[in-house]
């Protein structure tokens, strides 16, 4: 950039030693609110392919940084006044079916331990990719999402309704389900995994295997795997203790 800062009179300018450089990096990390530089795992060859969450978050970054004005605004309404957005890709997926009732569902478990405690959640979305269904031609499908509030050993789990979307079996693209209402429970049990359960029904109420409806899970290509995005409004930046 411009002329570097002039050293105060009488002070010799010199390069930082390795330890001072590490201290400087730690200081800048603290300003950026990062506890420490994460150990980047050497991504396996497959992981170098663009994954769905980073691709979506990069669009958000351009929208938040103001570059996104050209293409007509942010990729989601939820960006609003958020100043922290977290995407969660580490999830466990279960595909269930209760034989005698022919009841099918997909369940996703998220580790929420990284969610910053005390920050206000302004929105949360679950994003899952849908291919055109080759099994249910010309049908209307109802996709409903529930939070698993409590599992019961001797009966069905307690569920909390979150969102319902209606679409055509031949539709394709990202399906966005609003799971903001689940965030109220996160703050109550910050260390409990979040369980999201997804059902698909035809208009006559018959339960359909989500995979047959074209909904992609963890087995999908990396750029089409499901993920969750949470938007936070961070409180007033805490005054940092003098170091």
């Amino acid at each position: 950039g411009g002329p570097g800062p002039r050293p105060p009179r009488g002070c010799l300018q010199r390069r930082l030693g390795p330890r001072e450089r590490r201290d400087m990096q730690r200081e800048i990390l603290a300003v950026l609110g990062l506890p420490g530089r994460p150990r980047p795992r050497a991504p396996p060859a497959a992981a170098r392919l663009p994954a769905s969450a980073p691709l979506f978050m990069l669009d958000l970054y351009h929208a938040m940084a103001g570059d996104g004005d050209e293409d007509g605004g942010p990729p989601t309404r939820s960006l609003g006044r958020a100043d922290l957005v977290m995407s969660f890709v580490n999830m466990v997926e279960h595909n269930q079916a209760l034989g005698h009732q022919e009841l099918h569902w997909k369940e996703f478990r998220f580790d929420l331990t990284q969610i910053p405690v005390g920050e206000e959640v302004t929105a949360a979305e679950f994003r899952i990719y849908k291919l055109p269904s080759t099994h249910l031609l010309n049908r209307t499908l109802h996709i409903s999402m529930f939070e698993v509030v409590r599992e019961q050993s001797n009966r069905e789990s307690d569920l909390f309704f979150l969102d319902l979307q209606t679409l055509r079996a031949e539709d394709e693209g990202w399906l966005v389900l609003d799971v903001t209402a689940a965030s109220d429970h996160w703050s109550l049990n910050p260390n409990k995994d979040l369980g999201l359960r997804l059902y698909v029904e035809t208009e006559d109420g018959r339960s359909v295997d989500p995979g047959l409806a074209g909904l992609l899970g963890r087995q999908a290509p990396r750029s089409k795997q499901p993920f969750m995005v949470t938007f936070f409004r961070v409180g007033p930046s805490p005054v940092r203790a003098p170091r």
Binding site: P5, A53, L58, L84
Partner: protein, 139 residues
């Protein structure tokens, strides 16, 4: 017929003389002893130089800028000095050892956004406030 209004003598103003009106006052960017007056300077923070690009997805770095320069009386109007700074500079002229000059610091700051991986490989987008200097002034 309305009596002509009696012209009131102009109110005595006790405001400080505007620097541009005083004779011999420099109004270019150089202060009294050839030093630069308080203003914003370029400063680019490179995540690349810091070796962080393996976990910062975007940006590669950002322009943070910094403020540097003299706050010498008369504080030129481009320094958008506070009234307090003007008074402090005056008192400094009278008692240079007792009261320091006003100092050059940011008067307007804006945010910058950083996209990075956390330790569990989740992707985080965070807007950091007060990271970019928009304007400098004397305080």
């Amino acid at each position: 017929a309305a009596r002509p209004l009696k012209r009131r003598p102009p109110k005595k103003t006790n405001e400080l003389p505007h620097p541009h009106k005083l004779p011999g006052i420099f109004d270019d960017v150089h202060g009294s002893d050839g030093q630069h007056v308080c203003r914003r300077h370029k400063l680019y923070v490179s995540f690349q130089d810091l070796g962080w690009l393996d976990w910062v997805i975007a940006p590669q770095g950002y322009s943070a800028y910094y403020c540097d320069g003299e706050c010498s009386f008369p504080l030129d109007s481009c320094m958008n000095a506070t009234n307090h700074a003007i008074l402090q500079s005056l008192v400094h002229l009278m008692k240079p050892d007792a009261v320091p000059k006003a100092c050059c610091a940011p008067t307007k700051l804006s945010a910058t956004s950083v996209l990075y991986y956390d330790s569990s490989n989740n992707v985080i987008l965070r807007k950091h406030r007060n990271m970019v200097v928009r304007a400098c002034g004397c305080h």
